[in-house]
């Protein structure tokens, strides 16, 4: 059985965490990732860029609707994800448009922090 562990947190609060504390928390994440590897259960994971870097894509009546910002509709729930590596946001948007979910729901395109 595979599980996705989705992390929700307050970006604003995170920004005000002092540098050394932040460092300690990152180390904790590293430790966690190492434990996953040691236990043979690691299937991937990344830190996402903050929500202002997000773009939401929908398709309605065959028309592509692109909006700035994260997905913010409480009536819909996270239902799945794909990870893609492409040159730029236009290509990511083009792919997002092709997902069936873009027609009946929304696809949030969020950059991954390379590190």
């Amino acid at each position: 059985m595979k599980y996705a562990l989705l992390i929700y947190a307050d970006e604003k609060a995170w920004e005000s965490v002092p540098h050394d504390q932040r460092h300690a928390i990152y180390e904790e994440y590293d430790k966690f990732a190492n434990e996953l590897v040691e236990r043979g259960v690691m299937r991937g994971g990344d830190q996402l860029a903050d929500s202002p870097a997000a773009t939401t894509v929908r398709v309605r009546d065959g028309q592509q609707l692109v909006t700035d910002g994260p997905f913010a509709e409480t009536k819909e729930q996270l239902g799945g994800y794909f990870l893609v590596e492409v040159d730029d946001l236009d290509t990511a948007i083009e792919l997002a448009t092709k997902l069936p979910g873009a027609r009946h729901g929304s696809v949030e395109v969020r950059p991954i922090i390379e590190g």
Partner: protein, 406 residues
């Protein structure tokens, strides 16, 4: 601030667009480009007043800003980034003195600034800041937002371009029509914000000039596009009326009451000659420009070809169905066939436009002309409740007073 300073600032920023765009292309760094051009401005402030404006200000700004950017890259970068900086410096050094030797990067800058993944207000601010070269202070004043708010808006937009990897390019053919629509929408919004600004006559005219300047730029960089030409014509024909739109007290003067000798007839001629090129596939801007042309061609208000305007609004409504277009169409039909015909067309629009002050203002006007004074008074009151624009409020109050006196 002195006039000399204002003139220098103006000629500088009108020549700075290519430098900003070229530096962003090479470095991918909006802030670095802006700082380098700002530094070049400081140099211009010191040298232009004594030595005079250079023969080719654009080339002077490109060279000076390029040198500043190279200095910055040499100073600021360390480690891994240093190698990247070295490559950028080498490329910057190829940007020649003659601006005609380098490709004009402003079109890609414009497409990046107007990318749909940016919020609309961010697109407008970013376009005016980077492509048009306006200062944060000027943009904040024109859009009636505090300067720090506008500064944050710009910072956030630039960060999004970087973090989300919004490409810096003219979109490929398959995306071009849609993205160009987006660019034109931003330009028209700049124009209209200026047009409808609640205060500051001067700022209003400046935003109109700015939007026209940007439309001319797009037209030059993407020659032959019908929608671009149509938008340019529309802006020229509307902007030509700017001096007659308000009286000495700053009060609104209706089209029918405007002193047509105060219209800018050279600008009208230019707009009309753009329209005379014709269109294979008339779009929304084209139809609106043709409507503006009907007004521009009429020597007196009573000479206006209202049946033609009503037809054009009908075509616009078919192309871009919207209650506001229907409202304008009803007003034109009323002018052509009498107020009762217009009022009949307004009825079905009420549910959609009940919160729109111009709906009630238009309805009030038709009721007044139909002799239904009590209903007209009520409609004017409703319009007054809904309007937020001082000039419009004063206009509606005058109408109401005249009506109640009669």
């Amino acid at each position: 601030m002195t006039d000399a300073f204002g003139a220098l600032e103006r000629s500088f920023r009108q020549g700075s667009g290519r430098a900003v765009a070229a530096l962003i292309r090479v470095t991918g760094d909006f802030d670095l480009a802006e700082e380098a051009v700002q530094d070049a401005f400081e140099v211009a402030l010191r040298t232009w007043p004594s030595r005079g404006v250079p023969d080719n200000p654009e080339a002077w700004i490109v060279t000076t800003a390029r040198n500043r950017a190279i200095d910055k890259l040499r100073r600021d970068r360390v480690g891994r980034v240093k190698r990247e900086a070295a490559a950028q410096i080498a490329e910057l050094e190829t940007i020649g003195v003659d601006v005609h030797e380098i490709p004009d990067d402003r079109l890609r800058l414009l497409f990046t600034c107007c990318h749909p993944a940016l919020a609309m207000d961010a697109r407008v601010a970013l376009t005016l800041r980077t492509v048009a070269g306006l200062s944060t202070r000027e943009i904040a004043r024109a859009f009636l937002v505090p300067e720090p708010t506008l500064g944050q808006r710009l910072t956030r937009a630039k960060r999004k371009i970087r973090d989300a990897a919004i490409p810096y390019r003219v979109p490929p053919r398959e995306l071009l029509p849609e993205r160009l629509d987006g660019v034109l929408a931003v330009l028209y919004l700049v124009f209209n914000e200026g047009y409808a600004a609640t205060e500051g006559e001067l700022l209003r005219a400046e935003m109109g000039d700015e939007a026209i300047r940007l439309a001319r730029l797009v037209d030059r960089l993407l020659p032959g596009d019908e929608d671009v030409r149509a938008l340019l014509a529309l802006m020229l024909l509307q902007h030509a009326r700017r001096a007659a739109r308000t009286d000495e007290a700053g009060d609104l003067v209706l089209l029918e009451d405007q002193d047509r000798s105060r219209w800018d007839h050279a600008m009208i001629d230019e707009g009309l000659s753009v329209l005379a090129e014709g269109a294979r596939r008339p779009g929304g801007y084209r139809l609106q420009a043709e409507i503006a042309a009907c007004h521009a061609r009429a020597p007196r208000a009573e000479d206006t070809d209202w049946p033609e305007i009503a037809t054009l609004y009908g075509r616009l409504a078919a192309l871009q169905p919207s209650p506001v277009v229907e409202l304008n169409r009803a007003a034109a039909v009323a002018m052509a066939d009498g107020p009762e015909s217009g009022l009949r067309m307004l009825e079905p629009l009420q549910p959609d436009l009940d919160r729109y002050h111009l709906f009630h203002a238009a309805k009030a006007d038709l009721l007044r002309r139909a002799g239904r004074t009590d209903d007209a008074v009520e409609a004017y009151r409703r319009a007054l409740d809904l309007t937020t624009n001082d000039a419009e409020r004063r206009f509606l109050e005058r109408r109401l007073t005249t009506l109640q006196r009669a």
